[in-house]
Point group: C2
Chain length 339, copies 2
């Protein structure tokens, strides 16, 4: 029942503990015959090294943490998929922590991780993470962080993102080409990097087309779905409503669909919609939803690969590096002018 350890193995084999340990790690100090004997017995007795003992001794946890706002989210769950794949390939374990967009929870989690429980952290920060001292403090402890998607520019390390600015331009351009004259941008807080970039693209493209960027057309949504619903409803109620909506994240597009359904607003006739999304059912929606789709799986995969590139070399310091993957534009019914 109890797990077998080196001591027991050594006694049975009539060898010393260190010999057995070295034999299992294929050390040159041990003769081939002995190695085979040890390996066979170890397999027979189903020996696996105690991770706490070796972790303590070697100061390696063989574990990385993934810190994300949500998991019940198509983007993040795909990213986790990619991360887990690479971690398994590297014989690493993956701890998962959810912040639920709560900056205090994020701080608490980082505090919990400071004591060498993990060899590295892959993270996407909270929409409220403006101050990042808890992250730089964390780095000071000698544990590397790699950011993906929601990055923290002020922290020096590798950052995996998508071409949010270009995508913001393209999405806006597409709406304009489909005859939108008054485009609203549904944002998710101002703090985070991706919002700023997506919004910049939106503003830049409006500017390029000599369209006015009205402040009231930038709707700052948050983590409260009910409140978001009200905000979008306000936006779409009454005469003076926009004829195009660029939702910066998937859930805001879904909210918009729900509002339109309630208010009996026809998409795309009255208002056209496009959004960042990894929704599998985008093409099955009514109407099918135009999306900018991020390579979520690859983002996670890449983030993990970069992390292991440094962990393998026992480097705890990761220099600044920006890896940008491309999103793809999927034009569907929700954003197209009816001809």
């Amino acid at each position: 029942m109890a797990a077998v350890n080196l001591k027991q193995l050594a006694k049975i084999l009539n060898l010393s503990i260190s010999t057995v340990s070295k034999a299992l790690r294929d050390s040159h100090e041990i003769g081939d015959a002995t190695k085979e004997r040890v390996l066979a017995k170890a397999k027979e007795m189903d020996y696996t090294p105690n991770p706490f003992a070796s972790g303590l001794r070697r100061n390696k946890s063989k574990t990385i943490a993934v810190v994300v706002p949500e998991v019940a989210n198509n983007y993040f769950s795909l990213a986790i998929n990619g991360i887990e794949r690479i971690a398994q390939e590297n014989d690493y374990h993956v701890l998962i922590y959810l912040t639920h967009e709560d900056i205090e929870k994020e701080k608490g989690i980082m505090k919990h991780l400071e004591n060498k429980r993990v060899d590295g952290v892959l993270m996407s920060v909270t929409m409220n993470t403006s101050n990042q001292t808890h992250l730089s403090d964390f780095q000071q402890k000698g544990i590397p962080i790699v950011f993906f998607d929601r990055i923290c520019n002020e922290i020096e390390t590798a950052k995996i993102t998508t071409d949010d600015y270009i995508s913001g331009i393209n999405a806006t351009k597409h709406l304009i080409e489909n005859n939108c004259k008054d485009i609203a941008f549904l944002s998710l807080g101002d703090e985070i990097s991706i919002m700023q970039k997506r919004k910049s693209g939106y503003l830049e493209e409006l500017h390029k087309n000599n369209m006015e960027a009205k402040p009231e057309r930038i709707v700052k949504c948050g983590n409260d779905d009910e409140m978001n619903y009200q905000l979008v409803k306000e936006l779409l109620t009454g005469k003076n409503k926009p004829d195009g909506i660029f939702a910066s994240v998937e859930k805001l597009a879904i909210t918009t669909y729900q509002v339109c359904r309630e208010l009996n607003i026809n998409i795309p006739e009255e208002v056209k919609i496009i959004c960042f999304s990894n929704l599998e059912t985008a093409s099955l929606l009514s109407p099918s939803l135009s999306t900018i789709t991020q390579p979520a799986y690859n983002i996670g995969k890449t983030a993990a690969e970069v992390m292991f590139k440094y962990l393998d070399k026992n480097k705890t310091y990761i220099p600044n590096e920006n890896i940008v993957l491309q999103s793809t534009l999927h034009i569907r019914e929700s954003s197209q002018q009816i001809v």
Copy 2:
């Protein structure tokens, strides 16, 4: 930079290591004044115990593992959400492992976990997990397992499920009431418990209505989406197609929607569809999708709660217990007769 440990704390406080350790754990052996002094200094120096050292000493990892087929799946991601919540409340960490429906991967993961890396495992087995010796072997090592959703009946422990049999009956009944005469069941392998129960409900209700259960109407799908697409396409091609489809899992319903779109089959006019699903956008699909929705978050939450109930008492043996939560039927357009 390097994390502070007990030895350093003790030296600074001019106390022995054991006194510091006991003070931090609020032992009665230590005087109040000393305790305060230690606590203050520990906080000041940002001390946190090394998890490997205490894990090794106490034989406790403060970690549970979640083993599931997928994470990019609305059901499992919600369940993980619930699990993570309870784990955080109990000051536990959550390791995540994905089997991708691969029984060999499942075996490998369990082997990895045998060495006391975790205090307990919450799992939903692979669709191919028929033989469960790797699970009973695992239990023998003294680490408790709690199953949720995809349970393993042969293993004695707590199991959290939903009322799949009743739901199977209700879904089938609903299709029959909406005039379906020839209902197909899209299954995901025969091995797993939930499939058997859902199918039993389906068969039972057919029987009750004196409807023939044709073997060719039970389509055994798998993990390969492309192949599933072909299977569903075959089912729906030609004259002799069913007029109702009961998809046992969400992704098969989505596949069915896609096939119907390609073949220009009208839902619900030509074929009615209902499925088990936690899809957030079910009501926004075209047509909106009728679902049996499982309380995924609560299932995860309950599984974790049961686990901690035993872990708190240092019990590694969890007796058989079946906790059944109720799913809810959401009737939408895809399954209703047009009047």
